[in-house]
Amino acid sequence: MVIKMVEKSKYTKRMDGRKFDEIRPIEAKIGVIPSADGSAMFKTGDTVAIAAVFGPRVLHPQHMQNPEKGILRVNYGMMPFSVSDRIRPGPSRRSQEISKVTEWALAPIVELEAFPNTVVDVFIQIPQADAGTRVAGINAAVMALAHAGVPMKEMASAISIGKLDKTLVVDINKDEEDFREGEGSTDIPICILSRSKKISLLQLDGKISVKEMKKVFKMAKEACTKIHKVQVKALKEVGR
């Protein structure tokens, strides 16, 4: 009989003292940008995202219009001073990719059949980043879309699950993202729809076993349920 040695993970305790399944403290707020049709701020730990929604509004140029339904357009960006090493303002390959995957994450929930030839613009900005900016951006954008009164089938929440050496953790921060020991750090951003529980964003950067991946989805679902509650609370506080 061959006895398989199970090696112990090199990541035994989280650097900021959280439990493995613990998300950072969350704050959420609606209506942070008065000029927008809908807006929201979503903060987890030191990561802050603000989102503004404009529309449905007439889409220019005309050749981009869809006569069957309105289109959703997302633009994500990080402010130059949001990270230690200043980022040059303006779009990068990274920000353009994140804009697109965010668009795909949000597309299944919005219903724009009643608004042909129009566009709903979602703008996401990150003033302060400590990893997980794309998922924070999605969480803010979903709230801003609801706040703007855009018809939606359901809401959505997103979280980043990390694998540090052999340990799975929820909501990784920048220090964890930079973990290099053992198998290093794997980042898995996931977006889960609030009612159907479908997955509308899924990316992975690193190495992970199939068995572990099953656990990742379970952890993500639990975390997203918690995040959803915070989003809903912020929306329900308005108008009171």
């Binding site: 942070v32 940008i33 008065p34 000029s35 927008a36 030191d46 802050v48 603000i50 989102a51 503004a52 404009f54 509004r57 633009n75 960006g77 402010m79 130059p80 001073f81 949001s82 990270v83 230690s84 090493d85 200043r86 303002p89 303006g90 779009p91 613009d121 703008f123 996401i124 900005q125 003033p127 302060q128 980043a129 400590d130």
Partner: protein
């Protein structure tokens, strides 16, 4: 933004009686609100609100080779983004002339007043100096982004801390902020007021509608010279031209605003 003709006429009629739609007097600012530290990753940062207008400003320090004509002086780069998050009128894409002009006005107000002591930002003459990166982001545009951005820049600079420069490794340790502020000449501070002409009246701190219909604007960086108002930068914008009478009115307004606002602005900037 497009302001309909009848609305424009009404705004002008109101101003003839010294009134504005939001109840302010022509030379009255909106409420100014400041929040420090909107990004922990910046060496200094803040948000500034003039009513519903809001800007974020962040300072990031870097190093570079000095310019040959100033081998012992640090440098500054000011950039502004009029991000479409702030207004239905802004578009995505590279900064357009309005964002470029805004950054230039803010930059000039700071540079020409001598607010930053660039000589003290020298690391090794002819080889390495500090560079100050000032980034301005419009968050919500309800008019007068120029003055909000200008004030935000002063506040972010005054509250910034220098990061540690590791001479051996020749790089900046961003996670080790020192207690040292950016070397500033506090007495040289200049703050910006942009005057707008609507009908026969001159107003300050316009909202979006007022800004849209004004004939010209004049941005003045106002500093103190031994208890007297001093102008350190000017920029006239938009298509109409100023008369002698306009100039006289503005110069009087500059003195008046200097007396009433300068101590308050100093307090906001330096927290004294």
């Amino acid at each position: 933004m497009n302001v309909p003709e009848i609305q424009k006429n009404r705004i002008i009629e109101y101003l003839k009686e010294g009134k504005r739609f939001d109840g302010r007097k022509p030379a009255e600012h909106r409420k100014i609100e400041v929040k420090l530290g909107i990004s922990k990753k910046a060496e200094g940062s803040c948000s500034v609100k003039f009513g519903d207008t809001e800007v974020y400003v962040g300072v990031k320090m870097g190093t570079m080779e000095p310019y040959p004509d100033h081998p012992d002086e640090g440098t500054m780069v000011t950039s502004a983004e009029l991000s479409p998050i702030a207004s239905p009128d802004f578009e995505t894409g590279p900064p357009r002339i309005d964002a470029i002009e805004l950054a230039r006005i803010v930059d000039r107000g700071i540079r020409e007043s001598g607010f930053i002591n660039f000589k003290k930002l020298c690391i090794k003459e002819g080889e390495k100096v500090w560079s100050v990166n000032l980034d301005i982001y419009a968050i919500n545009d309800d008019g007068n982004l120029i003055d909000a951005a200008s004030l935000g820049s002063l506040i972010a600079l005054a509250n910034a801390k220098m990061p540690v420069y590791d001479e051996k490794e020749e790089k900046i340790k961003y996670d080790m902020l020192s207690d040292n502020p950016i070397p500033l000449n506090k007495n040289a501070m200049a703050f910006n007021i942009t005057f707008h002409k609507i009908g026969d009246e001159i107003i300050v701190d316009p909202n979006r509608e007022e800004e849209e219909i004004s004939e010209w604007r004049l941005s003045c960086a106002i500093a103190d010279n031994k208890g007297e108002a001093m102008i350190t930068a000017l920029q006239k914008g938009k298509e109409s031209a100023l008369t002698d009478e306009d100039i006289e009115k503005i110069l009087n307004l500059v003195e008046d605003k200097y007396k009433k606002m300068f101590p308050k602005i100093r307090k906001i900037v330096f927290g004294e």
